[in-house]
C-alpha cells in the first residue's frame, strides 16, 4: 500500500492536484450542506402535520394527539416535546425555516407579536368565523392573549394560572397574625414573623422570574393596568411612571425589612426550593403561580388535608388606583399555526384545535389535575377548594395581566431580568431602574 502510493507520488505534480482536489471536495461538501438546508421540507401535499410542545404540557397534549390520530389515520399529528427554555431557543431558530412545525406552541405576548410582524403565523380569524360554538366557550380575557392587532393568531390550550399569595396557616397561627390583606398589614406582619423565628416570605430569586411577580402586582395595585400598557405601547419614559418608582421603592423597603427568606437570591424556583420553604414551615408566605399547587403534594401529601394551605390575592395597596381584584400571571399557553403550513396542513391543525382541544376528555384531564380550564361556565365542574377559590378570583378579576416577561419584547425582557436582580440586591435605586429600562423602549 505504502509502496504503491509512494510510486504514484513520483509521477504526479502533487501540490497542484492536492489544491484542485481540496477545492473540489470543499465546494461539493458546502454545496451539500446548503442543499440540505434548503430541501428538508419534502412531501407536504398530505395533511399530516407536526407539533412542538413543552414537556410541562406533555401530559395534556399527548393523550389528545393520540385520540386525534386514532380518529384521523390519514392526517396524523406527530408531536415533539422540549423543556421550556430549550423550546424557546429552538422555536426561535426554526420558526422562519422549513423545519417549522405546523402547530407552534407560544405564550403569546411580545414574542408572538414579533412572529406576527414577520408574517410567520397564520391569521386564524377567517378560519374561525364559522366555529363560534368553539370560540364562544373560551374566556375572552384569556383568548385575547392570542389576538394581535384585532386578528386571532393563537388559541389557548392549557390551564389558566394566575399568581397568588400562598400561606402556611400553621406558621401564621403560631405567630398569631392573620392573612395580610393589605400591603401595610404585610409590612406589619414581617417583624412579628421574624421574631417568632420564621422567614416571612419565601422567594426563588435564583431563577429570576419570581422577582417579576412582585413588581407586576405592585405596579397594577398602585397605578392600574394602564401603566404597563403605556410601557407596551412604547410611550417615551413609560418606565418612569410614578407607580413604577413607588412599586420598586416598596419592594426595596420589604427587602430591607428582611421580608424575604435569607439568601433568596440563591434559591431556585425551578426546583421548587422556594415552595419547599413555605410547605415545610420555614417560611410563612410565598407569591407564586397557580402551577406551584401541584408541587405541594409532592413535598407534603397531607399539607392541604391538614388545613395548613391558605391562599389569597396579592395584598391591596391603600390609596392605589388599581382594582385589588386584578390578577396577574399566565392566562394560558397557546397553539398557533405556522404561515408556512400548506392549506391541507392548516386544515388538519384547525380540525385538531377546534374539535379535540377542549373536548370533554381534554377538559376533564385539566380539571382532574386540580387546574382551571379557560372556559366559560366551568365552575360547577371544578374539584377542591383550591380550584374553586381560584376560579372565583379569575371570574371576578376586571383585568388579567399577562406576565411582563412574556408580554415584553425579547430585548426589553432580557434587560428586565438583569435590572430586577440589581433592584432586589439594592445595586440600583428605583430611579436608576426606570432610567435603564427606558432605554429598552422601542427596542
Amino acid at each position: 500500500m505504502t509502496h504503491i502510493s509512494q510510486e504514484a507520488e513520483h509521477r504526479r505534480p502533487r501540490h497542484h492536484t492536492a489544491q484542485v482536489l481540496t477545492t473540489v471536495v470543499t465546494t461539493a461538501v458546502l454545496g451539500l450542506l446548503l442543499a440540505a438546508c434548503g430541501s428538508a421540507n419534502g412531501g407536504t401535499t398530505t395533511g399530516a402535520i407536526t407539533a412542538w410542545g413543552t414537556t410541562a404540557d406533555r401530559p395534556l397534549i399527548e393523550p389528545s394527539v393520540a385520540e386525534f390520530n386514532k380518529a384521523n389515520p390519514n392526517t396524523k399529528i406527530t408531536a415533539n416535546y422540549f423543556g421550556t427554555n430549550d423550546y424557546k431557543d429552538k422555536i426561535r431558530t426554526a420558526i422562519n425555516s422549513p423545519q417549522v412545525p405546523t402547530l407552534v406552541y407560544t405564550w403569546g405576548g411580545g414574542t408572538m407579536a414579533q412572529y406576527v410582524k414577520a408574517n410567520l403565523l397564520r391569521d386564524l380569524t377567517p378560519d374561525l368565523t364559522n366555529k363560534q360554538t368553539f370560540t364562544e366557550r373560551l374566556i375572552p380575557s384569556v383568548a385575547a392573549g392570542g389576538v394581535n392587532g384585532g386578528k386571532t393568531y393563537a388559541i389557548p390550550m392549557d390551564p389558566t394560572s394566575p399568581v397568588i399569595l400562598y400561606f402556611n396557616q400553621d406558621v401564621l397561627k403560631q405567630v398569631g397574625v392573620a392573612q395580610p390583606k393589605t400591603w401595610d398589614e404585610l409590612l406589619a406582619a414581617v417583624p412579628k414573623i421574624k421574631a417568632a423565628g420564621f422567614a416571612p416570605i419565601a422567594l426563588g430569586g435564583g431563577s429570576k422570574w419570581p422577582y417579576l411577580m412582585w413588581i407586576e402586582y405592585l405596579v397594577d395595585r398602585i397605578g392600574g393596568p394602564e401603566v404597563f400598557q403605556n410601557i407596551l405601547d412604547d410611550k417615551p419614559e413609560a418606565w418612569s411612571d410614578p407607580a413604577v418608582i413607588k412599586a420598586n421603592t416598596m419592594i426595596q423597603q420589604l427587602v430591607k425589612a428582611g421580608g424575604f427568606a435569607d439568601g433568596f437570591a440563591s434559591v431556585s424556583a425551578d426546583t421548587n426550593a422556594d415552595l419547599a420553604l413555605m410547605v415545610t414551615g420555614k417560611a410563612a408566605m410565598l407569591l407564586q403561580g397557580a402551577w406551584a399547587y401541584a408541587g405541594i403534594a409532592q413535598i407534603n401529601p397531607t399539607f392541604e388535608s391538614s388545613g395548613k394551605l391558605g391562599f389569597g390575592p396579592f395584598p391591596a395597596v391603600t390609596g392605589g388606583k388599581g382594582d385589588s381584584k386584578n390578577i396577574a400571571g399566565n392566562p394560558a399557553s397557546y397553539w398557533a399555526i405556522s404561515a408556512k403550513a400548506t392549506e391541507a396542513q392548516a386544515k388538519t391543525a384547525l380540525d385538531y384545535l377546534t374539535n379535540t382541544v377542549w373536548n370533554d376528555a381534554y377538559t376533564k384531564s385539566v380539571i382532574d389535575a386540580g387546574n382551571i380550564p379557560p372556559l366559560i361556565g366551568i365552575g360547577p365542574q371544578l374539584q377542591g377548594d383550591f380550584a374553586k377559590g381560584l376560579n372565583e378570583m379569575i371570574k371576578q378579576a376586571p383585568n388579567f395581566q399577562q406576565s411582563w416577561d412574556l408580554a415584553l419584547s425579547p430585548a426589553a425582557s432580557a434587560e428586565f431580568w438583569t435590572q430586577l436582580d440589581l433592584l432586589f440586591n439594592a445595586s440600583v435605586t428605583p430611579a436608576q431602574f426606570s432610567d435603564n429600562m427606558n432605554k429598552t423602549i422601542k427596542k
Binding site: L21, T22, T26, N96, F264, A265, V267, P410
Partner: protein, 299 residues
Amino acid sequence: MSTRNGGAIAHLSAPSTWLVVPALIFFLGFAIVPLLIALGLSFTSWDGLTAPVFNGITNWINQVSDPVTYNALWLSLQVIVFSWIVQTPLSLLLGVFTAGRHRYRAVLAALYFLPLILSSAAIGIAYKALLDPNYGLGKAFNLPILSQDWLGNPALVLYVVIFVIAWQFIPFHSLLYQAGARQIPASLYEAAQLDGAGRVKQFFYITVPQLKNTIIASSTLMVVGSLTYFDIVYILTQGGPGYATRLLPLDMYLTGFSASDLGGASVLAVILVVIGLLLAAGLTKFSGFNRMSSQQDGA
C-alpha cells in the same frame, strides 16, 4: 524542496498532503465560514426572524460604547487569571503525585479524575443544589457558615464560579501533568538523590523544569478555555446577579439569543475570536513552545 533526486525525497518521509483534506473541509465548514458569516452579520441588524438589514458600524459603536462589554471583558480576564492561579499549582501537584507507581495512588487518581467524566450541565445542576442556602451543604453538615448566599451575593459569586470551574478542570490538567511526569527519566532523580537532593529540591529542580512544555500546553488550554467558558456559568447564575458573572461568552449568548440582537452578538463573537487568537499566539510565541526544544539535553 527540490533536490538532486527530483524533489521526491523530502516527500517520502512526510505524510501525504492529501491527509489534511478532511480536516481542512471540516475546519473551513465549521470554523472559517461561520466566522466570516459572523463578521458579516456584525454589520447588520438582525432579530433572527426577518432578513438581516445592513446597518454599517452601528452595532460596533453600540457594543464598544456599552459599559457591559467592558465589564464582561474584565470579568473574563479575572476568570482567566484566577483560574490559572488556582488550577495550575493544584493540577501540577496532583499530577506529579498520581504519577508515582503505588497502588494507593492509582486508587486516589481514579477518584480525582471522576469529575472528568461528568458533563458540565450535570456539574452545574449538582452545584446549584449543593449551594442552596436552605437545603444545601450548610444543612447537610449542619454548618451555618456553608449556608451563604453563594450565587446571589455579587461579592462572592465570581469566586464560587471560579471554584466550580476549577473543580471540573483540575482533573483534566492533572492528567496532562501525570503523563508528563511519567516521561521524566528516573535516572535524573537517582542522580539527584546520590548528590543529596531532597524531595522538595527534586521537585523544583527536576520535575518542574522537565514539565515546562506540559505547563505551557496546559496553560494555553486553560487560558483559551477560560476565555470561552460558558455552560457551568450559564446554569449556575445565567450571568447574574445583575452583571456579576456576565462573562464575555455569556454576554454574547444573552445579547444574541435572549435579547435577539444577533448583530450585536456577532460583534462580541468577533471580539472573542480576536482575543482568543491573540492570547494563543502570544502564549506560544513568548514561551518558545513552537520551537519544541527538548528538555532532556544531556540527560
